[in-house]
């Protein structure tokens, strides 16, 4: 199980376009990736490839989230995804 913690750089939080960009990338990995608020229990983690699930987390600018994935390419995939989260796509 690979894990990454990322800080949301987008000013609108994980909403609209940033969320769309992120879920698209998450789908592209082909892995089952979950995302949760940093302090939330693992059971509350949601599917990172679903925009709605992402929005349901209600994550704002500056919040920290945990990405989790399993598989041979998980480390590289999570590196790429956390880079996306830590970029402000509206800048």
């Amino acid at each position: 199980m690979a894990e990454r913690i990322a800080t949301i750089a987008s000013r609108v939080g994980l909403h609209a376009r940033p969320a769309a960009v992120f879920t698209e990338a998450a789908r592209g990995t082909g892995l089952d990736i979950t995302i949760a608020a940093q302090d939330a229990p693992v059971a509350d983690a949601v599917d990172a490839s679903s925009i709605l699930a992402l929005m349901s987390l209600g994550i704002h600018h500056g919040d920290r989230v945990v990405l989790r994935a399993e598989g041979p390419d998980a480390e590289a995939a999570l590196d790429a995804l956390s880079r996306i989260l830590e970029t402000d796509h509206d800048a």
Binding site: I51, L52, M55, G58
Partner: protein, 643 residues
């Protein structure tokens, strides 16, 4: 250009067992064809469920993934990704595939792989011949003119130098050096050799080894034997010659050894076999001219399913090279494809099932253009009755084409445009006959399909939604669970989404927010609302209820995720103007209250009031299509998600 298929390609590679499991990969018009080291490592079920994959099948040891017309782009992406992973699919060990394939499959696979790359060249040359025939028929040029001679050899070069082309592609297929193979073919066709042959005196190498006099121009079988042997010789030399001098000695010895073998043994044997084939063609055309066209016309759909057509089509190419015309495969294939297209078209007109209608409409057009796989797997096979009609229709058309000895003068795809390949021999007779055959096939097929549809095509009812038909269709099977007992109308494979508010429907592309209008959040529809009563477009669970009350996410029982967004940039209103919003986690029925929006307050804050509804996980479904335009009432169906 092919970037959009990056994730699809990645998924496919993973699900066939990863790069290491792939011995070779190639593609035909709609399928990726993998030779896997272990077919057991591929997850057929998961793969079939991937969006963008219509179907998977294993045939003759080849693992096939039916992708569709854009297979070339997907293939390029697969190739790139395999290369990027440091995996070189071209360097297959001889014993790479653990799957034992029968000798018939091996032969079909080799012959198909060697001949398929030639088709564009043969088709081009054939069309030039057709053009030349037209020039003669309409008295633009005479057959004695220099123009005739020039255009004729422009067209003829491909046929004359066929051994070189075959050498190249066959060597490619065998993974030996294609340039060396073409070089050996050049030896066999050298003008000096031709001069010796024409002189007619016995020829000997070193005064002892006899070289039988045979011309190899335009021949097929000799070069295939040569390339088969050359591949072995090359591999052997590669092993025994030290790496330092390989570059010099492997080609040199290959030329000397294989060149000699070609001129003394392999070429002459090939010529003899070719002669027998010629006799066979002659026998067919004098005694049973109708047989091939009837056989192919009736059974091609079945042959395509088993990949057998790849074994027969090259016979046609051999016949074309030897006799300048072809009636073994082409006429039967053309009438069969058109019959398949017509049968599918009739199904499209007759069926009440929306998804089938879509597949059938698209499939019939591609079939008429010569690509039958979508129609075959999407319509004919699941429905069976149009398959039977198309086979009978194709057989009847084949009988006419066969009896009239209709021939084509070039190979090419077997769709409607291919009738032009039947212009040749400086006459239009073959063109006229093939058109008559096509008309016969189309009429018989259409009438039979229609008659059978009266018996087998029942109106679809909601209860029938998940039964038989759709299970046999190539669809994304992943999300078919659940889906009963809700107020959402679940038709066969379609989830309907209703207008979340009364008003006027506008296309998403006209919405004043680039995130939505560019479909970044997914495809959907927008409504300019007449009032502020926002209701649920479908039954499901409220996954998202923004604290601001302006956006809601609902997941239906069959997995469709819908976002309803009230107004543009209304997130900045921070809940002002939105009252009585539904809570997250609530179970909701279609038409049930979501929120009350104060449209005047939204306008006063300077925002458009447009209500937007998008399907955020559209990639899991076949299509999201608008089902209404203009004025709609609250709760009227406006969007269809085709599963």
């Amino acid at each position: 250009m092919s970037k959009q298929y990056a994730s699809l390609a990645g998924n496919i590679i993973d699900l066939v067992g990863g790069p290491d499991n792939i011995a070779t990969v190639y593609h035909c018009q709609t399928r990726l064809r993998f030779e896997l080291r272990d077919n057991g490592k591929a997850d057929q079920e998961k793969l079939a469920a991937v969006e963008g994959v219509a179907k998977t099948l294993v045939n003759a040891g080849v693992f096939q993934v039916v992708v569709g017309m854009h297979v070339k782009d997907v293939y390029e992406e697969v190739e790139q990704q395999l290369a990027a992973s440091g995996h070189r699919v071209t360097e297959t060990e001889e014993d790479g595939t653990s799957e034992k394939r029968g000798i018939v499959s091996t032969v079909i696979d080799f012959v198909a792989g060697a001949f398929q790359p030639l088709i564009p060249a043969l088709s081009g040359a054939g069309m030039v011949k057709a053009f030349l025939a037209l020039l003669v028929v309409f008295n633009v040029i005479t057959r004695q003119s220099q123009s005739y001679v020039i255009i004729n050899f422009i067209a003829d070069a491909v046929f004359y130098f066929m051994p070189m082309l075959i050498a190249f592609s066959a060597a490619n297929k065998l993974k030996s050096n294609p340039i060396l193979a073409a070089g050996v073919a050049g030896i066999m066709m050298h003008p000096n050799w031709l001069a010796l042959v024409q002189e007619g005196k016995p020829v000997h190498l070193f005064e002892v080894i006899p070289l039988p006099l045979a011309s190899y121009a335009g021949s097929v079988i000799p070069i295939i034997l040569v390339v088969l042997v050359q591949a072995r010789v090359e591999k052997l030399l590669d092993r025994i010659i030290p790496a330092a001098v390989k570059l010099v000695f492997v080609p040199m010895i290959t030329f000397l050894v294989v060149g000699t073998l070609a001129m003394t043994v392999l070429g002459p044997i090939g010529s003899i076999i070719g002669g027998w084939l010629g006799l066979f063609f002659g026998f067919l055309s004098t005694h049973a001219a109708w047989a091939p066209a009837v056989l192919i016309g009736a059974s091609l759909p079945v042959m395509v399913m088993f990949g057998l057509h790849n074994g027969v089509a090259p016979l046609g190419i051999v016949q074309l090279a030897q006799t300048g015309r072809e009636n073994i495969f082409g006429p039967g294939a053309l009438v069969s494809n058109i019959s398949v297209g017509v049968a599918t078209l009739v199904v499209a007109l007759r069926t009440k099932e929306r998804k089938l209608k879509q597949i059938a409409s698209a499939g019939s057009i591609t079939a008429l253009m010569g690509i039958t796989e979508p129609a075959l797997y999407g319509v004919l096979l699941p429905k069976r009755y149009p398959l039977i009609a198309a086979m009978i229709g194709g057989g009847c058309a084949g009988l006419y084409a066969g009896l009239t000895q209709t021939s084509r003068f070039a190979t090419g795809s077997s769709g409607l445009p291919a009738v032009l390949l039947y212009i040749g021999d400086n006459t239009l007779q073959h063109l006229i006959n093939i058109v008559i055959a096509l008309v016969i096939g189309a009429i018989v097929t259409a009438v039979l399909t229609f008659a059978l549809s009266l018996k087998y095509e029942k109106p679809a009812t909601p209860e029938e939604g998940f039964v038989v038909d759709y299970d046999s269709l190539p669809t994304t099977a992943s999300l078919r669970n659940g889906g009963t007992g809700t107020a959402t109308l679940v038709r066969a494979g379609v989830t309907e989404l209703n207008a979340p508010v009364a008003g006027v429907v506008v296309p998403l592309s006209e919405v004043g927010d680039p995130v939505f209008s560019a479909e970044t959040m997914g495809p959907g529809i927008a409504v300019e609302p007449a009032n502020g009563a926002i209701v649920a477009p479908c039954a499901g669970t409220v996954m998202v209820a923004m604290a601001t009350g302006h956006a809601f996410g609902i997941r239906t029982d069959d997995g469709v995720e819908v976002l309803v967004h009230v107004g543009i940039d209304t997130v900045t209103m921070d809940g002002h103007g939105f009252t009585d919003a539904v809570q997250r986690g609530a179970r909701i029925e279609a038409g049930q209250h979501l929120v009350t929006a104060d449209l005047d307050a939204i306008r006063a804050a300077g925002h458009p009031t447009t209500v937007i509804m998008v399907v955020t996980n559209h990639d899991k479904f076949d299509a999201v299509t608008a089902a209404a335009s203009g004025q709609v009432g609250s709760g009227e169906p406006v969007l269809d998600v085709v599963r």
